[in-house]
């Protein structure tokens, strides 16, 4: 099996599905001729031609709106938004048109669009090249929200995204684009939605994460082992649909839970997970649920390392939770 980086796995997924399904088309700012600012679409215009892989002007609203229209007529548009931070000119198209079309039309129309976009910090990008705002989108009924954490999942989840009959926001952890490497099968395979993955089994507590924070939790879990604490690391992989069963099963087993996300704390997706566990597994909890997250501030340039959860911070939470006696 070839070893690919996460971004190579994404390119591979696009190529694999485009070879199979002629309705899949890619477009966005500099995705064609230049192969994307991060080179995710490198070589695809050469293989599939300018009709299926094309450049757009700086028009995010137009890009997503056009994708909605194309999807209504049965095409499979896969637009790229250069950074998640630049998606807001298209927010109206996403929230009001893309996400609600099936419901508004009483099930007559579908919008199978996959919006690919890099998200997250760790590259010193400052305010507008770093944010992790998945919660705006999980808060929008009708959208599916997917966040891979390694190359294998990136390919399998992206192919699966392109086969959905509903719109998907596919968030790519840009800090892992070249850092994450792993074995990726050639050709076609999918990773199903709504199936979280236990990245490390443990018995004392559950660390829940997605995207780039999965690696951070794994590192913290390794270090916690030195203190005799056994952490389970659960990678959600898709936030919507959420694998509630896996979440509850793990927390019922360990009795303790920490959610880790890059996004700011207030109204982050971690709050949702905590609420679900409180509603459905309260009697299994042996300690309060903790969150290790970004802060309720805009994303900073200088203090990025302070803002972003790292293994040290997660480990501190692990120790604190471990010491907790009810």
């Amino acid at each position: 099996m070839p070893t690919l980086t996460l971004i190579q796995a994404i390119t591979d997924a696009l190529r694999t599905e485009m070879r199979k399904n002629p309705d899949v088309v890619l477009f966005g700012e500099d995705v064609g001729r230049n192969g994307g600012v991060f080179r995710a679409t490198d070589g695809l215009q050469a293989e599939f031609g300018e009709e299926r892989v094309f450049d757009t002007p700086l028009s995010e609203s137009g890009i997503i709106g056009a994708a909605v229209g194309m999807a209504l007529y049965g095409m499979r548009p896969v637009p790229e938004i250069q950074f998640l931070d630049f998606i807001y000119p298209a927010f109206d198209q996403i929230v009001s048109e893309l996400a609600k079309m099936r419901y508004r039309s009483g099930g007559q129309y579908a919008t199978p669009v996959v919006i690919r976009t890099p998200y997250g910090g760790g590259i010193k990008g400052g305010h507008y090249h770093s944010q992790s705002t998945e919660a705006y989108f999980t808060h929008t009924a009708g959208l599916k929200v997917v966040v891979p954490s390694d190359p294998y999942d990136a390919k399998g989840l992206l192919i699966q995204s392109m086969r959905q009959d509903d719109p998907v926001l596919f968030l790519e952890p840009k800090a892992l684009y070249r850092k994450a490497k792993g074995e990726v099968p050639d050709g076609d395979y999918v990773v199903p939605f709504g199936q979280a993955k236990v990245r490390r089994a443990g018995t004392d507590m559950t660390l829940v994460a997605w995207g780039a924070m999965v690696g951070v939790c794994l590192e913290a879990a390794r270090r916690a082992e030195d203190d005799g604490i056994s952490c389970e690391v659960l990678d959600l992989r898709t936030l919507v649909p959420l694998d509630e069963a896996a979440l509850l099963e793990s927390v019922k087993k360990t009795g303790r839970m920490i959610v880790v996300h890059e996004a700011q704390r207030t109204s982050g997706f971690g709050g949702e997970l905590a609420a679900i566990v409180a509603e459905k597994a309260l009697e299994h909890l042996e300690a309060p649920i903790l969150r290790v997250t970004g802060f309720d501030t805009p994303f900073p340039y200088t203090l990025e390392e302070v803002y972003m959860p790292d293994a040290d911070r997660v480990l501190r939470a692990v120790l604190k939770l471990h010491r907790y006696e009810s």
């Binding site: 990008g125 340039y301 200088t302 203090l303």
Partner: protein, 328 residues
């Protein structure tokens, strides 16, 4: 374009040369510091386009406002911000103009009425309209100058801003720096109408295009535009035809343009162009030129030393200025 050497006002010419050199040398140094990882993240250099900021800014009054993009180091300097404050911001130091919170793309300075440093393409155009509207409503004789690249013209905000400014006859000067490429996309590949002046005119905004490599021509065009705006006639659109000599940012393999095109534009380097004219007119001696260079070099060295020596914002202040501070 005027003949080389003719009609060169000595004082204006030398001031423009000095300003362009300050911008150029500060940015050359920034590129070096980026490689040394003193400046991190993203860095968009203005090298090649200096005549635009220098030329327009010389025509402004201190209380006129400027709103710019992420390629704004030159605008900030030309508007009067100190090189120290800019350099420290790029280093992410607390002495930076925005406390090191934003870095290169987020320069702000209320004292010189510099309202960003805006890294969302097109996002600052409506805001410039609002500054103009407030000035108009408060009966203040000020102008807001909004700089943006030709790539921004494709965003919806451009069209809303042009219409509102024209509809309400607001004192806003729109300066479109047309450097022909938005990242890797050439103008002709992104616009159905490549004559940007016609776009402005469609909103009934008077407009002109000017050679953005000629600082004196930019100054003259800005003067005419500002006369119109200051007379209460509403907004004006100036297209500054220019070129960036460097890649879009520090990560751009430049697959979209060839060496020959860049070299052709480099022959029209705005600094060399003005220098030639000043020399031809007898306004610039070798000695004066060398002195200018030394002064600028010293200023850059001072700014870098200042930035190096400055502290980072303390961790405990991460959440300051999310909201207004409650006074005790």
């Amino acid at each position: 374009m005027s003949d080389p050497g003719r009609d060169v006002d000595r004082e204006a010419g030398l001031a423009l040369l000095h300003m362009m050199l300050r911008i150029r040398r500060m940015e050359e140094k920034s590129a070096e510091l980026y490689s040394a990882e003193k400046i991190r993240g993203f860095l968009h250099l203005y090298i090649g386009e200096e005549a635009c900021a220098a030329g327009v800014m010389r025509e402004l009054r201190p209380d006129d406002a400027v709103v710019a993009t992420y390629r704004e180091h030159g605008h900030a300097l030309a508007k009067g911000m100190s090189m120290r404050a800019i350099m420290a911001e790029m280093f992410g130091k607390v002495t930076g103009c925005s406390r090191g919170r934003g870095g290169s793309m987020h320069l702000f300075d209320a004292a010189t009425r510099f309202c960003g440093g805006n890294a969302i393409v097109g996002g600052h155009l409506p805001l410039a309209v609002g500054l103009g509207l407030a000035d108009a409503m408060l009966r203040r004789p000020r102008v807001t100058v909004c700089f943006f690249g030709e790539g921004a013209v494709a965003e919806g905000e451009f069209h809303e801003a042009m219409n509102l400014a024209a509809l309400w006859r607001l004192p806003v000067l729109f300066c479109c720096e047309n450097n022909l490429y938005a990242m890797g996309t050439a103008l002709a590949r992104s616009e159905s109408e490549v004559d940007l002046v016609r776009k402005a005119e469609a909103y009934r905004v008077p407009a002109a295009a000017v050679d953005g490599m000629d600082a004196l021509a930019v100054g003259a065009a800005a003067r005419r535009a500002l006369e119109h705006v200051r007379a209460g006639e509403g907004p004006y659109f100036l297209e500054l035809r220019t070129f960036r000599f460097r890649p879009h940012s520090m990560f751009d393999p430049e697959l979209y343009r060839n060496r020959a095109e860049v070299d052709r534009w480099r022959e029209r380097d705005p600094i060399a162009l003005l220098e030639g004219r000043l020399r031809a007119a007898g306004h610039l001696t070798d000695e004066a030129r060398a002195r200018l260079e030394r002064d600028v070099e010293a200023e850059v060295a001072d700014a870098v030393a200042f930035a190096e020596a400055s502290p980072l914002e303390p961790e405990g202040e991460l959440d300051r200025f999310v909201h207004a501070e409650v006074r005790a």
